[in-house]
């Protein structure tokens, strides 16, 4: 599918921001599918999926930290001036929420396994330390929160994709192109 030419005036994002966005986008989508599948199907591949989920989850936590630092230190192109105020507000709020959920999900995952007394082994047998001691009740609560955050992130991502396409296809204001490097 080819998108219409960028007719707007939004400047492109810096290269590093674009790279981080798409690498994380791909990993997050994979993580959400793996998580949903693990939680809702009884599968003989459970152990490998779980190891993949822990490993990519930890990688995403590192990436989101890099990304947050990048966000505050690197240049972010401003939204077009003719964008209505409610859409600007929605854009800012949804991005704050996206960052919050991207940070909270792996942290809650790490904390919940720690509280539950699960050893946290990554691909290749590498262990990461527990965030806390054995707190079974907290484990139960955090496990529930982990699912709720995942459902929240799914809704945010779907809205984010819809909004990007709205900018790219209907408004054609260059916002989508700014993350495609155009």
């Amino acid at each position: 599918m080819s998108f219409p030419q960028n007719t707007g005036h939004a400047a492109p994002f810096p290269r590093l921001s674009i790279l981080l966005h798409w690498v994380m986008a791909a990993l997050i989508i994979v993580m959400l599918f793996v998580g949903l599948f693990m939680a809702h199907n009884s599968t003989v591949h459970y152990a490998s999926l779980f190891t993949l989920h822990r490993t990519v989850g930890f990688l995403l936590l590192l990436l989101v930290i890099v990304r947050l630092i990048n966000r505050f230190t690197n240049h972010t192109p401003p939204l077009p001036n003719d964008l209505p105020a409610p859409m600007k507000l929605a854009a800012h709020l949804s991005h704050i929420l996206l960052y919050g959920f991207m940070l909270a999900l792996p942290l809650v995952g790490w904390a919940m396994l720690s509280a539950g007394g699960y050893p946290i082994t990554l691909w290749g047998g590498c262990h990461i330390p527990s965030l806390m001691g054995f707190h079974p009740h907290l484990w139960g609560e955090l496990r529930c929160l982990h699912s709720l955050l995942a459902y929240g992130l799914i809704l945010l991502i779907l809205a984010h994709i819809g909004a990007a396409l709205l900018h790219g296809i209907i408004r054609r204001d260059g916002i989508m192109g700014s993350m495609l490097g155009r």
Binding site: H40, N41, S42, G116, Y118, L165
Partner: protein, 364 residues
């Protein structure tokens, strides 16, 4: 949608709306929204519920239990088979949980119920070995589909408050591959006590030595106490098995040898319903000694999950499908019960401090 001066055609709007809708649909499909017949950990929880599990903080299976602590001493033979830190020679703490296998947390002790022993052994360097052993000789299921059907047969008949014996007979009849497992279950002689019972891993695991050589094994906790057969349900006391275990621990430590049976060519590794060759080599890899009993309401073993796939380096899972299933279903049960308000366990702290048996007709 906010009014836009550059409003698009319906085709353009479709290009905006359809991609997120499709992705959302695909995710819902992955979560089983459109295929409710698929087997999931939640479906297993429902089956346990119908088999008498309570949503009051108890395990959904192996619900009635008691804790014990002690230590593990490895043997040089264990060290030769696995490079795990567990076998390095150190004297390691053990937390164990003795239980009755059914999902009923208030089941009166009886000789008919299968019994289990779960353990966690930890080394000072962070190795964590969890075991969930049962006193059945073989698993009466070979895969996830069998397990799902099996737990359906455990449903309590509302009229009798017991599982329907015809259901388990039908389950066995439809599965000729479980013939040996059911025959061995039938001829299995139940031990008189928890103290002299032998508990089996049922599933197979892989031990890896320093050189990387892999050895497929099944293991068992074999009681050092002499075996004596169960003789009907003569005790009046609803906790007689657990109280007799406490009484014995008050007198002397109790030991179990951890015996690994080494697979030979042709022994099925991925099917816990099939027996291994009688002549297989058996190696004692260590000894567990229990010294002290606790009610599960005052020990971390009460809430703890004994997921048999939590293993140290040097011990790993085989491709046995039931190991994957146990891990996912245990996690679901563990998360659910941990968020619930727990009612007291049937084996109370009082039973631990005063393990006096209610006298039966014979004054015993």
């Amino acid at each position: 949608m906010a009014h836009s001066p550059r409003k698009g055609s319906p085709a353009r709007w479709a290009a905006v709306v359809l991609p997120p809708l499709c992705l959302g649909g695909l995710m819902a499909w992955t979560a089983g929204v459109f295929s409710p017949a698929a087997i999931s950990p939640s479906h297993f929880m429902q089956r346990f519920q119908k088999a008498g599990a309570l949503d009051r903080g108890f395990r959904r299976a192996h619900a009635k239990g008691m804790c014990a602590t002690g230590w593990f001493d490895p043997t040089p033979e264990g060290r030769a088979l696995s490079r795990s830190g567990i076998f390095k020679g150190e004297h390691l703490p053990v937390m164990g949980r003795f239980s009755l296998a059914p999902p009923l947390p208030y089941l009166p002790d009886n000789p008919a119920a299968a019994r289990s022993l779960a353990m966690q052994i930890r080394s000072s360097t962070g190795d964590d070995w969890r075991m969930a052993l049962v006193d059945a000789p073989l698993q009466v299921m070979r895969d996830i589909a069998d397990a799902f059907a099996f737990f359906k047969t455990a449903r309590l008949d509302p009229a009798t408050n017991k599982p329907d014996p015809a259901a388990i007979r039908a389950y066995a009849a439809q599965r000729p591959w479980l013939k040996t497992a059911f025959e061995q279950a039938k001829s299995h002689k139940q031990a008189s006590d928890l103290t002299n019972d032998t508990y089996n891993s049922l599933d197979s695991f892989i031990l890896t030595d320093e050189a990387g050589k892999k050895t497929p094994v099944r293991w068992a906790a074999v009681a050092q106490e002499p075996f004596s057969p169960a003789e009907g349900s003569s005790a009046n006391d609803k906790n007689y098995l657990f109280k007799r275990l406490v009484q014995t621990l008050d007198q002397r430590p109790l030991r179990w040898d951890i015996v690994a049976t080494i697979a030979r060519e042709g022994d099925p590794i991925n099917d816990p319903s099939q027996p291994w060759d009688e002549a297989d080599q058996k190696v004692t890899v260590g000894t567990v000694t229990f010294t002290k009993a606790y009610s599960e309401d005052e020990s971390p073993c009460g809430p703890m999950v004994f997921d048999p796939t939590i293993l140290p380096d040097g011990i790993s899972t085989s491709d046995d499908p039931l190991l994957a299933l146990r891990s996912s279903v245990y996690m679901k049960s563990y998360a659910t019960r941990s968020a619930e308000h727990k009612t007291p366990s049937m084996v109370t702290p009082g039973d631990i401090t005063h393990p006096t048996l209610t006298p039966d007709g014979k004054g015993q």
